[in-house]
Symmetry: D2
Subunit: 405 residues, 4 copies
Amino acid sequence: MKKDVKKVVLAYSGGLDTSIILKWLGDNYNCEVVTFTADIGQNEDLNPIKEKALNLGIKEENIFILDIKEEFVKDYVFPMFRANAIYEGEYLLGTSIARPLIAKKLVEIAKKTGADAISHGATGKGNDQVRFELGAYALMPDVKIIAPWREWDLNSREKLLAYANKHGISIEKKPGKSPYSMDSNLLHISYEGLILEDPNASPQEDMWRWTSSPKDAPNESEIIEIEFKNGDPVALNGVNLSPANMLNALNNLGAKHGIGRLDLVENRYVGMKSRGCYETPGGTIMLKAHRAIESITLDKGAAHLKDEIMPKYAELIYNGFWFSPERLMLQALIDESQRHVNGVVRLELYKGNVIILGRSSKSDSLFDAEFSTFEEDEVFNQKDAEGFIKLNALRFIISGKNGRK
Amino acid sequence: MKKDVKKVVLAYSGGLDTSIILKWLGDNYNCEVVTFTADIGQNEDLNPIKEKALNLGIKEENIFILDIKEEFVKDYVFPMFRANAIYEGEYLLGTSIARPLIAKKLVEIAKKTGADAISHGATGKGNDQVRFELGAYALMPDVKIIAPWREWDLNSREKLLAYANKHGISIEKKPGKSPYSMDSNLLHISYEGLILEDPNASPQEDMWRWTSSPKDAPNESEIIEIEFKNGDPVALNGVNLSPANMLNALNNLGAKHGIGRLDLVENRYVGMKSRGCYETPGGTIMLKAHRAIESITLDKGAAHLKDEIMPKYAELIYNGFWFSPERLMLQALIDESQRHVNGVVRLELYKGNVIILGRSSKSDSLFDAEFSTFEEDEVFNQKDAEGFIKLNALRFIISGKNGRK
Amino acid sequence: MKKDVKKVVLAYSGGLDTSIILKWLGDNYNCEVVTFTADIGQNEDLNPIKEKALNLGIKEENIFILDIKEEFVKDYVFPMFRANAIYEGEYLLGTSIARPLIAKKLVEIAKKTGADAISHGATGKGNDQVRFELGAYALMPDVKIIAPWREWDLNSREKLLAYANKHGISIEKKPGKSPYSMDSNLLHISYEGLILEDPNASPQEDMWRWTSSPKDAPNESEIIEIEFKNGDPVALNGVNLSPANMLNALNNLGAKHGIGRLDLVENRYVGMKSRGCYETPGGTIMLKAHRAIESITLDKGAAHLKDEIMPKYAELIYNGFWFSPERLMLQALIDESQRHVNGVVRLELYKGNVIILGRSSKSDSLFDAEFSTFEEDEVFNQKDAEGFIKLNALRFIISGKNGRK
Amino acid sequence: MKKDVKKVVLAYSGGLDTSIILKWLGDNYNCEVVTFTADIGQNEDLNPIKEKALNLGIKEENIFILDIKEEFVKDYVFPMFRANAIYEGEYLLGTSIARPLIAKKLVEIAKKTGADAISHGATGKGNDQVRFELGAYALMPDVKIIAPWREWDLNSREKLLAYANKHGISIEKKPGKSPYSMDSNLLHISYEGLILEDPNASPQEDMWRWTSSPKDAPNESEIIEIEFKNGDPVALNGVNLSPANMLNALNNLGAKHGIGRLDLVENRYVGMKSRGCYETPGGTIMLKAHRAIESITLDKGAAHLKDEIMPKYAELIYNGFWFSPERLMLQALIDESQRHVNGVVRLELYKGNVIILGRSSKSDSLFDAEFSTFEEDEVFNQKDAEGFIKLNALRFIISGKNGRK
């Protein structure tokens, strides 16, 4: 049963699939189509997009092309990295964290243009549909959502191409385009499909589009310094950088030194396992550096609590619950801890390795050599440890005294 | 107030400090001393130990030197790696996991020899005293514990040496002995003290005793295959190995390829921060491989539950609660999940990098390409996703419908 | 699109709705129908069921009526109570815990009779459909499931009655039948619908079918003793009872004394809130008694770990994940702790109150008056507390010393 | 080794023990003594305190008697109740929550009077010493703490009385004073010691000083309405009340109706079990009411997250970590959720029972009868449930399809 739709905002990449969706929406829902294209750091030329959209019959005032890189890094990437978020022990959530922002933009444009629906090109088998739609429902509860891949019968490459031909949609592939299913933004690139569908097969070197192989990375290492303020990186080698510029600079460093490749099998929210390869050069450096600065500025209680709630926080982001009350609650907990996460981390980058060389914090270091030294000290009474241990052991002692085994 | 001690079992390394303790115990407690020395893979020649102990006046029947490497890896290291345990996001718990076993052996020997006390050479500022003593109290609740470093007044190097001289204890240093405070076993080496007491200073290359620097590691990578059974590695490149032999072989591989160095600041259980450098070559490979085999054999619910409880499990081990009821409960949970963790992981080792090339499990793979494929499939009804998302979003929709923001 | 079904096992209560389903299945799926009716303690006369099923055209060999009360209490209720499971701070999971067992029986009968499908009478808006179906899929992954309420157009009372009339299904109501939507088993009764759909309206006294009102309960209290073994109640007032008999006896006591009524608003798994009233007389006593026996037999570490994982465990049961790996893992953790939960609890029942009078355990008590006494003692060195506190405070002291606020 | 103390602030109750401490401090530390006495709702006449202190030689400007009831309820009790905090499934933390505030006041007075130490009358075996001292160290890291019970040799009643006699301290007992060890404040009274040291013995009715026995409570129930704002109770039966007045009013209601008695065995932080009886009349009502208003105003995700972190939060308060970073982080999480906890709860009080009659929230209810109704509705598509269940079951289906068991 078709929804009754008046005007729909489509997340439009300019590629073949979303161009077909663009046409299909108008034809099947008989509704006005608004396009939204984001520059989220995917490193593609967005100039031709407007032309394409116009050619496909979109009105000029209905074409939205926005640079959201700074918002992306400042309000999505950085808050997530404050949590040291990792999904299933490995994945840095590069795709997951971009989706809620795109959902937010779709909704903002829908409200601005009076649209009652949004549409996206994510398939019915993946996580991205969930992330787009949970985000949209959270921000615009009465929105209608059209997910063509779950609805149409264009379920083979042939049918798609036939449809494109019939509707005058250009099907020529960009030269050099990757055969893999990719997602890309300022935080990462992901690869899925083809040979990766066999988890026991390893990808060819030429799959990777961003980072050098550790083997091809420079033989000379490079030492950098990152300054953190309230848990966020603010300066690189002494130079203040905006969030997006910071991530971009770290990406360049990481990519050069073969840092941030991952090859993993993950559990999708929709229930099956899936294999993905990821490049997150700057994020990999950032995570390691953030943990290092936290290691001297966070108290044990704070650090351990963060570690305990992290898997849940990461799962929420992976599953698309960025705008849920529970993510906001966890963020409040995390951000409360980051007031003190200020200081500088020195790192060495070398052929895939991110090596911590030092960390310091003038304002917030809790490292006190006087206490931890192996030399004599005046501040710690070693006899205190006896009572500490005795009372920690008391339950074992009582248990034994009472004959329990 | 001195405890009344009849016979004490001392964890005796043969080094200067525990030799002094050996003498000091007899003099100050007027008690018989039993020595226990473990070969836990620390790669030292234990042959001279017996001679040394005899020279210091220990009766032959009171000298115990045991090879506990297999027990260490099988009953301590492997169970811990089933949990993917990491303390504070980085540390593989190489020292922590050895202490409870030593405590257990001390208690076993105490019971066998009729001793009523144990003693160790750990300082009053560190974690190891806690781990030894909690372990001992849990296994022998009425044990008396003598921790000389918390009691005596030999609190400077000069006083120690004077005491040694006075009692005829050899103070000559082994040639090439590290100036750092080290702990070492089959799982790792740790370094503390000296320059490391400044968290902003990085160690000289010559501090590291085990692994090659990534920079000095071979230019050729090496590909290996590890087979897991019930979550434990059982074969390397098709050859079955005992637990200790497996870890030893992985150590050799890791050390050769510059794998497993860590430089971190950690929170000690006794309350201060401390900086340590660690080498865990085999463990680093094992952890990565274990996560990879779990990624295709563990169900999402099982995997996420493991990740959620891991920080607590790691903290228990770090703090010395290996024999506590709660560690046993968590181990029961973890082990229940490992029945299905069977299969083979293929990895590439290269200059500090452990790269997953593939994972397979004939008996237990949950990876089903038919479901995850980007091609057409016959098993997944994409329309199901709509209901899935709709009901997951329902609380947001209701919230919005009721005007909440 | 109708599934192709050969033979279906229906969870058949004998009531109007499942009688209509019975007919509707045969008519719409053109398949053989097998009925399963459970005596799970719902306190209804099951004798007429067979006759009813025969009358509706079911073959005698396809009619299954089983008493599953003992299995229910022993393998479902008791394991759950070992965890002190409560959903959302209030609900004792009386309906939730019965559903997986019914799913298991449906699957067992399906396998026995060669059926390829199961069917149930739960609506498309509730939790029970989820619990039935997740259970069935877990135990018989290729099972087909027919949920008529999600499929048919008999979506009003009138249409249902018309259908019943047309197919000769008796629509006479049992005299005294509750107008509320009820579920009932040996653990509880639930009420939903009607006036309860306004969360601000309180039910009439005559809604409650089982327990006395606290106001009408006896003016004399009653004292009872429950003995626990490995966490399960095994004897009441010194008399050993089977699991179902134990729960039955506690139900009678609780019902008499006005114990176990609840009125709450809960969050359904499918996304909306719902208001329910519950009677769990025996369960309420059992929970309180179980906590009391645990209070002297569980070590602090064990008790706190159980409390921490309990909400997740309860949520899994509420949501229908009884047969999931993660529920089994949590159960392994819980059961490991219950080895020591042995002893006797004395309680007083009075007008809705369950009052603990005493608890004792000859074999496993960890309560040691010598340690906890306010009188002088010989076992506890109060000076130990100073070191204990000092090291626990050390991170605060260091933080302050370093000028952090 | 005695600390070098110049001026000490003593938590002074005016009773025998702290009067002895007052003298003992001056004699043993040769320091000026400042007294602090709090009206925290313990319902004792504080007028004689000043006279007593003067008589014991304290200078008038060194005597501090403060009413801290409003601060106690507003900044300590209410924030804790926002979390629905319960320790070990039963205890409402009535003593625990008062200690950090007293520590804070001691420190404030120390800073004001230039004192370098604080002192308290808590024993070396209990939790209160920990709570006082952790609080003090957190707020004044260089404070010296004198805990006479851990230091002196007045470790029997006789020695204490002899000391009192010798120093002219009145030892006459207040008539009617309880023989139990009690703590009391506006939230609760606790009883320990004597017959309670046998966990199998139940206390005499005359132990309880505050609440009626349920058996003696009125035969008529009483219906009340509590209004919540941001999670805190602000009005009773339509009348706005300050925090302390609110708790006081609820206490009177609860005490009258026999509400809030508890008899339990708990695990002290210092390692042993201890038995306590508690009266928390108002708190018991407040907790039940708060859960009820949350049940319609908190989203499922928010509510479950709160339940999951609650045991840890309660443990932190019990153990004395109120001023720790991790308690502040959890509080940030909790408070973030309470923005929406607004509305009115109607309850009936009857002989120990707190019965929820209704809950409503004009601004923030998430209860939507249109969705939850058992009648026909226009908003919920029951077919959505099929996809929801199918994808939730997918991992079981895949597991089965691949032959796993």
